[in-house]
């Protein structure tokens, strides 16, 4: 069972646990550094000397060089700039989709777990049904009904991946419901939504944070796949996935166009998953093995 830090020494121990885990895991440090860099680049892109749009057809398909670190694309645009701007979109979609997913999941999970009864049954039925449809199929089908673009893809990913979080949150809510302080609050007459906000959600927060980290990773993967199929981000906006879709046609001339965005997707997803692992270490009370009788 995951619990929040109970007091200062507990907090200190958790931080120590994380730092010690970091020290032993070079990859974890590298991942954190990478995330900081990539997020910084994405946020600062407008003020950096990047130019993703100017075409220069005479210089198309230039491989990476000192002038164009990532080379140029099929109509001569600086690929580094395009990849960074693509990253902005991919990260934005990942982040917003995750927020949507978490909000819906927490809402459904806490309400379902706390209220129980027929509300719980119905909500869980809905979760079951939505989980029954393979996500790829579901997401592509829904994209038929929504106009393709940034908003749609955030909605599509956010509204069709919340089920797992809802289940996790519901399970924790169910066990929290039996805790004495919650039962007392109920007994004293505090309304349900207040209990949920003040008692249940703070205790569920650790689970949510961990799920959020892996949620971003999944969202980025999903967005890339959808954009690759042409069902996600549309021109003139581009994300890593749509860059890859474009690169598909030019692999013979410019394989770097396919390698670079893909590499960034892999590194970003890997880094977010590593972050999720670190958060898990921070959040779980470490039982010293061997400290038994």
């Amino acid at each position: 069972m995951i619990v929040m830090a109970k007091n200062k020494s507990d907090q200190k121990r958790r931080i120590e646990n994380v730092l010690s885990a970091l020290k032993h895991d070079k990859l974890a440090i590298a991942s954190l550094v990478f995330l900081v860099i990539i997020i910084a680049l994405a946020l600062l892109a407008p003020i950096l000397p990047l130019d993703p749009n100017t075409t220069d057809v005479r210089n198309m398909f230039q491989p990476p060089s000192p002038e164009h670190w990532f080379g140029t694309d099929d109509i001569g645009r600086d690929y580094l700039s395009r990849v960074i701007y693509g990253g902005r979109v991919s990260l934005l979609v990942g982040f917003l989709a995750m927020i949507t997913c978490v909000c819906v999941g927490v809402l459904v999970g806490t309400v379902s777990g706390y209220c129980g009864g027929w509300i719980d049954s119905i909500l869980m039925r809905i979760v079951d049904i939505m989980s029954s449809i393979p996500w790829m199929v579901l997401v592509t089908v829904i994209s038929l009904f929504l106009k393709r673009g940034l908003k749609s893809i955030i909605i599509v990913i956010g509204f069709f991946t919340w089920m797992e979080i809802a289940r996790l949150v519901r399970a924790e809510t169910l066990s929290l419901k039996e805790r004495e302080y919650v039962m007392y609050a109920k007994f004293v007459g505090i309304p349900g939504y207040v209990i949920i906000l003040k008692h249940i959600i703070p205790s569920v927060l650790p689970t949510i944070i961990i799920a959020a980290s892996t949620g971003i990773a999944n969202a980025i993967m999903t967005e890339s796949s959808l954009s690759f199929l042409g069902l996600g981000i549309q021109q003139p906006m581009s994300s890593w996935g749509s860059l890859l879709q474009n690169a598909q046609s030019y692999m013979q001339n410019a394989i770097y166009m396919a390698i670079l965005p893909g590499l960034l997707i892999v590194l970003t997803i890997f880094a977010f998953n590593k972050l999720g692992n670190l958060l898990r270490i921070f959040v779980e009370p470490r039982v010293m093995s061997g400290e038994k009788d």
């Binding site: 049904i129 029954s132 199929v137 993967m221 890339s224 890997f270």
Partner: protein
């Protein structure tokens, strides 16, 4: 136990029905429907009405639903708006092709995952585990379509070892070697996509088993490491995995949509994607219902297998 199975089957039926209702509702909410595909703006209203009546679109919605459902149950999946071909005939060719690709990749991936996961779990935090788990962490981050692209480039184009499109070279449909050459790259891509998750699952299961009390009790009675692994942990890890295989059922139809599309493998994947891109609703809806039903059936199968093999549950029913 039979009671448990029957209960589960009865619970699954309403789920499937609800899915069909949802699919049918979606189909009717679509901004563009079958009639639009068959008529042009120039046709007179009478012609349109005739066409509607011919295909039964003039009936009330619930009657349409019942006819559609009836058709589904009898294997009549309707017709494509675009090609006017029978969907069931198309699927009858496409689904086996998909299965031919996915089944070997899935089974082999799980076989290797079991070996790697057991090794990793029994050597937790030692170098073997760190290596295997590290590779899995990277593997999970690899988009399948990207791996496919790279495979096509390096093996297909650069080294020119393998063909990059389709299932056969024209004229060589009977050649096994030719088939295998076409088969290899999409197989590798799928295998690599299934492997990391499966390995992680086995690893986690193995670690859990090793931390159970009964392992220490076995050690206290002199069991060697090998005995503990092969006589106890293996069994306890494999049992849930076998039951999990029920979940592979829907994979056999929709598990490789992107990969098949990239490689031009004539399975359900490209069929579905083309239907999406062309707004060919009947096809989309049939595949939706089919895959969802398979998920539900897969869950059912897993539960049944579990109740048959786990002695603790066998007795409950």
């Amino acid at each position: 136990m039979a009671k448990y199975i029957i209960k589960r089957i009865l619970a699954a039926i309403p789920m499937v029905l609800i899915i069909t209702v949802i699919c049918f509702a979606l189909m009717n909410l679509a901004p563009y429907d079958a009639i639009d595909a068959m008529t042009t703006p120039n046709m007179s209203p009478e012609t349109v009405a005739l066409i509607k009546a011919k295909y039964g679109y003039d009936q009330p919605v619930y009657i349409q639903y019942i006819r559609w459902l009836d058709g589904l149950i009898n294997g009549n999946f309707g017709y494509s708006i675009v090609t006017h071909q029978s969907i069931s005939a198309d699927l009858a060719i496409r689904i086996p092709n998909t299965i031919k690709l996915i089944l070997p990749a899935y089974l082999l991936a799980y076989a290797l995952a079991i070996v790697l996961g057991l090794i990793a779990g029994s050597h937790k935090n030692k170098w073997a585990d760190k290596l295997i788990d590290g590779i899995c962490a990277i593997g999970i981050a690899l988009p399948t379509f990207w791996v496919s692209m790279l495979l096509i480039y390096f093996l297909g184009y650069k080294l020119n070892v393998l063909p990059i499109v389709g299932m056969h070279t024209i004229g060589q449909e009977n050649s096994m070697i030719d088939y295998l050459r076409h088969f290899l790259m999409p197989f590798i891509a799928l295998f690599l996509s299934f492997l990391p998750d499966a390995t992680r699952y086995v690893r986690s299961s193995t670690i859990t088993q090793y931390s159970e009390d009964y392992v220490m009790v076995q050690q206290a009675f002199g069991a060697s490491k090998a005995e503990i692994m092969f006589k106890h942990v293996c069994k306890n890890v494999l049992l849930p995995i076998i039951t999990k295989l029920g979940m592979a059922l829907p994979m056999l139809v929709t598990g490789a949509i992107i990969t098949e599309t990239i490689f031009g493998w004539p399975g359900v994947g490209p069929y579905f994607v083309k239907a999406i891109q062309g707004m060919d609703y009947p096809i989309v809806m049939v595949i939706l219902v089919l895959s969802s039903t398979l998920v539900i059936l897969g869950n059912l199968l897993s539960d049944i297998l579990y109740s048959l093999t786990d002695p603790r549950i066998k007795d409950l029913g």
